[in-house]
Amino acid sequence: MYASRNISLCTKDCLCLFVCPTGATDTENGQIDREKCIDGCRKCVDACPSHAISLVFEEYPEPIPGDADLSGMMLGLLQKKSSLEAAASALAGEKTDPGAVKLAEALRRSFRIVGEDCAREAGFLLPQCDPVRKLKEVLDLTDIGE
């Protein structure tokens, strides 16, 4: 676990510089030096008054599996959102009035975001979890890492 700074949240109070034992937080590009950062130290995370620094994890726990029938229903809902998205996408291509094109494009984006949420709640939360590993085997996508 190493520290990472979100530069758009950083208010330049520089408390991270006060507490960092290795100087990893003081760099010319605003990013914390991973080579110097101590695994799991988190002093800068706790000191930062603007919550601009967080720890990036290298390993994630396996999510707790949900009920199989309920996951199947959420995949059913995902399937429906994805059909709506495909339809809105075709509609955005066909329409010519600017308002209609904008509305179809907005709906397309919205259906995808709601569909992604269905996928998460159906068990596909993380790239590093068993349902994704199984899917990668079925689709022969095992060249994609974790």
Binding site: G76, L84, A87, P98, G99, K102, A106, P127
Partner: protein, 154 residues
């Protein structure tokens, strides 16, 4: 509500699943992994059907009346609070999608003249107006999570 097995997912449903994994990879700052899932998501993306706004509206009305109550009942019986949360957001966003279509069908092009549509990247909430909302009324994400809908060039 039909239960769907992973093997039966359509190509576009897989595209949505993969773009979710790309977003998760980005949050984990695993940018190569993000690129792999994004590319795959684009390969599986589909644009199909001849539905117009009233057809989409009809499907949203049906889903609000049938899908959401049925899945909610099941999720309540299992006390699955994660799924219940997704249903609360999804139902509200679906209602907004439907109402935006209703307003467009009644007012036509004048509805969006001089206005943009803003989307909450966290939950899909849509807002037609001139300024970014300060807070998402559905999921309470801050204004920084909103994007302005850009129309693809024809």
């Amino acid at each position: 509500m039909e239960k769907v097995k992973t093997e039966k997912l359509s190509r576009n449903a897989l595209s949505v699943l993969f773009s979710n994994l790309a977003k998760a990879s980005e949050k984990q700052q695993k940018y190569e992994l993000q690129e792999s899932w994004s590319r795959l998501s684009e390969n599986y993306r589909e644009s199909t059907g001849d539905a117009d706004f009233p057809d989409i509206r009809e499907e949203l009305v049906r889903s609000l009346a049938e899908d959401y109550p049925e899945i909610r009942k099941k999720a309540q019986s299992l006390s699955d609070r994660g799924v219940l949360r997704a249903l609360v957001w999804g139902e509200k966003v679906t209602t907004i999608q439907k109402s935006l279509i209703d307003r467009y069908l009644s007012k036509g092009e004048s509805l969006l003249e001089g206005k943009d549509i803003f989307i909450c990247e966290a939950c899909g909430f849509l807002y037609a107006g001139t300024e970014t909302p300060a807070l998402c009324p559905v999921c309470k994400a801050p204004s920084s999570r909103f994007s302005k809908i850009q129309v693809p060039a024809k």
